[in-house]
Amino acid sequence: MNSIPALTIEHVASLDGILADFLKKADADLAVVIDRGGNVISQYGDFAILDVTIIAALAAGSFAATRELARRIGEVEFNALYHQGNGNHIFMNSVDENTIMITVFGPRTTVGLVRFYSAATAAAVAELLMSLETSGAHGFTFEANDVTAGPIFIDR
């Protein structure tokens, strides 16, 4: 039997606290913590403006794609990426070997400020995620009769 890594309400509240503090200090709009496979671990901020799931998939792809570019200049990977728009921008930085943090911000702040505060935030998130691993937070399973028996997706 396999189990699913689980984030409890307390874990999510702790992550939200770290991200909320970061957004306040950096004056950014949205922070998302994802794994490198593109799954959203936590998100905080104004995510009504965009589909976080898609942002996560594309960001994971973008981060992975530049890894080879980094290797060409003798780096293991780029630990931060910045995509500059006309009004809105995305900054991504590595949290640990499995996790990335994405920050979306607008003209109210600067990339320097986001970059500065994201480093400490990434370290705090990494520490929290590490504590989840060591606390044995993995282990969600369910009963077979909890699962819908019929087709999950319907062709209209």
Binding site: M1, N2, S3, I4, P5, A6, L7, T8, I9, V12, A13, D35, R36, G37, G38, N39, V40, I41, S42, D51, T53, I54, A57, L58, A60, G61, A64, A65, E68, F140, T141, F142, E143, A144, D146, V147, T148, P151, I152, F153, I154, D155, R156
Partner: protein, 225 residues
Amino acid sequence: MSIINYASREIQFKIVYYGPALCGKTTNLAYIHERMSPSHRGDLVSLATSADRTLFFDFLPVNAVVIKGFVTKFQLYTVPGQVIYNATRQLVLRSVDGVVFVADSQWEKMEENVESFKNLEENLTQQNLSIAEIPYVLQYNKRDLTNIAPINYLEFLLNNRKKRAQSFEVVSSTGQNVFASLNAVSQMLLHKFCKQGEAPSSASVTPAIPSEIVPPSRSIRPINL
């Protein structure tokens, strides 16, 4: 890898559509996107070349309430089928939970099908995974064409192992069995996490494996004999 969030009561799974170039992976996702209610799916994102060949991946998030009390999000990805993009396939396979292998039924594509399946196994191995532990189904696509191999030959080539996978005769352009195969792999991966163990994996088509079949052009070795 799947992840559950108790605060938002969400579970996420990643399903990858894998297969040789031009076998119909993107067409699968396009059909699902077209036919699912917008309330249960997001936008279809395609990172393609100007000639509509998948360059990086296609991505479609879909969701359903299939586990009591939790919204289950399935993230559907395709890989680029062209041989040169293997590094990209490895990236897309990262944290995969389930696989739909899309085979092209045309006779001339048999070698590419086998190569692609081997490539899938190799790329899973690189992530310390094996095809035996990943829920997967097989699609035999393009069954509407004339120059196609019979199902039992495809089974012989691609599904010839001790534990056979569910397989489907598919026409992805019209949607035949597109949802059936998505539902099958989704159920399989959900049951992987059930306390009672795995879901039954009886094949939807169970042709007898022929003892000797020679394709028209050349003999291609089946995988995992």
